[in-house]
Structures are given as C-alpha cells and as structure tokens.
C-alpha cells in the first residue's frame, strides 16, 4: 500500500523513474573508442598519405617513416610534395638520365633546407628523401629519379611501402 502511494506521488511530482535512456554504457563504448583512436595517432609516428591513385608496393619492411621531403611517382606524373613537377612521359622522352625540372626543384628545396639549418644553427646534414612510387612504375623511371636525386646531393633515400602482414 505504501509503495503504491509512493509510486503515485512520484508520478504526480513528475520524477523520472525509468523513462530516460541510460547513456552510461554508450559513454563507456565511446570513451574506449576515443582512447583507441588517440592511441593510434600517437603510436603512428609520421603520418603521410600517398597521392590519390598511387598504389604503393607491399613489403615486409619494418622501418618507420621519418619526416622528409617526399617525391611521389605515379603512373602519369612526378610530384614533389603535392606539387606536380613533370609527367613521366616527358621525363622518359629525354635521353638524359637527369630530369631537369626535378633537378631545379630539388636545388630550390636544398637551398631552403640550408637556410633553415643556418637559422636553427644546425650543420647541413644529408637529408633523407622519401620516394613514394606506384607499384606499376618501371625501373627506368625510378632510375632516372634516383640519378637526379644523387646529382642534387640527396644520397639518403627511403622507398615508401605499405606494411604487409606476414
């Protein structure tokens, strides 16, 4: 009798007993998800996204990517960062091993790095260049790009690949 009167009185006062959605379990899921996403960002190291349409080859390499100048070679063009430098067809049309537009852009990049190094008070070390090559490109293209890099004073090269699960 007493319980019934309590229920009635609570209904009269508008107190919510069970009509509200319990958000606690959903909050738990969202908190876990948030931590997981944040952890993947922290553990991911240097984050880089290949240009659209470029498929990197798969490899068992384990070395993480470092911050560096990125040269992307897709099936049509050669890019430095996101800047389109020349087309693969143009680069292959020349008999020379040196790709002139790429060499000019690399020279500018090297001068810029040199200025930054002077401003920071660092010595100019060998800078790493990361090559993001499409898996379909032929070795002749890669060879010309590597020759141009070597000519421009970039000896340390990192070939970007997608980690293959063994």
């Amino acid at each position: 009798m007493r319980r019934a009167s309590q229920r009635r009185s609570s209904r009269r006062r508008g107190v919510s007993g069970g009509h509200g959605v319990s958000l606690t379990s959903l909050m738990d899921i969202l908190t876990c998800l948030l931590f997981f996403v944040l952890k993947s960002f922290v553990a991911g190291g240097e984050v880089t996204v290949p240009p659209p349409g470029l498929e990197l080859p798969k490899s068992t390499a384990e070395q993480a990517m470092k911050s560096s100048l990125v040269i992307a070679i897709d099936r049509e063009a050669i890019l430095v960062g996101s800047e389109r430098i020349t087309t693969v067809r143009e680069a292959m049309a020349s008999d020379q091993m040196l790709i002139e537009p790429l060499a000019a852009r690399l020279k500018a990049a090297r001068e810029q790095m040199h200025e930054i190094a002077i401003m920071k008070g660092d010595t100019l070390e060998d800078h790493v260049v990361t090559i993001q090559g499409d898996e379909e490109i032929e070795f002749r293209v890669l060879q010309k790009v590597m020759y141009t890099l070597n000519d421009g004073g970039f000896q340390d090269i990192a070939l970007a690949v997608i980690k293959k699960n063994a």
Binding site: Q6, S10, V15, G20, L23, T24, L26, M27, L30, T31, L33, L34, V37, L38, S40, F41, G44, V47, T48, V49, P50, L56, P57, K58, S59, T60, A61, E62, Q63, A64, M65, K66, M97, V128, T130, G133, D134, E135, E136, I137, E138, F139, R140, L142, Q143, M146, Y147, L149, N150, D151, F154, Q155, D156, I157, A158, L159, A160, V161, I162, K163
Partner: protein, 163 residues
Amino acid sequence: MAQRPRKRRSFRQLINCDLELRPLMNVFIVLIPMLLMSAVFMEIRVIEMTLPRAALAAEQKPQQPFDLALRIRPQAYVIEGDGATLAVIPRVETLSRGLPVAEAAAQISNILTAAVAAHPDNKEIRIVAEPGTHYREIVAVMDLARAAGLPQAALEGAESEGI
C-alpha cells in the same frame, strides 16, 4: 512516525545522483568521427638506401667482402657471387601478377641464405634490374634479400653503370 523523514531524504538522493551525460556525449559524437576521418589505416614503412656520392662513385668503389648480385633478367633471376653464377631461376613462367611465385621465391631465399651462411660478414646485395622491371617486383626481391640476412640492397640498372 520517526521513519518518514528518513525515507524522504533517500528519495531526494535518488533524484540528485543522475549525471548529465548528454553534453559529453555530444562532444564525443563530434570528436570520434572527426578523428576517424583523419586517421590513416595503412601502415607506411620505408626501405632505406644510400646512393653512392657522385665524387665517390667516380673514384674506386670500396671493396666488399663478397660481391653478391641478383640480376632480374627477362627470362630468369640470376644470382651471382664474386662474378660467378650461383643459380639461375626461371622467371617468366613463375611470374604471378608481377611477383615471383612461392617456388621461385623459396629458391631465391634458399640460395641467398646459403650465401649469407658462407660469408657472414657480407650484408650487401646488388639488385640489377632491367629498365622494364616493375617496381613491386624489385621491392619483393629486396624483401627476400632482407629475410635472408642481407639488409643493405643497392639498386643497379642492367644497362648503365652506377645506380
């Protein structure tokens, strides 16, 4: 009569213990899709290489303990040690989607492992590719060499000297 006020107090406590989670929920609902959209799910790794300096390349190359080379020829993979042919593995018949198939890969791996066992000081291999060789095949061969204990791979063109 003495119990009534106590019951009322507990009733009030029930009302006050509800946490207002909706604002936090709203923040999470905005934050999680934003983070997921900017997340990169492909793990990008690198294969590091060092090119010979132009001045150094023109001069004498440093002597390696054992000159191991893997030539990717149109018809076969040729493995050479100090200029002598160690093995010839057919390529075209075994090529699947531009990659060496399991048997060819196993053969290359076995020969390279044997070469490493015979010359443990050597950690280098020259990969000599034809101009038309696909990049993914070169990477696959580099993977086999690394797995066999040769982490330092140098790329060379079959026609030209140098790189």
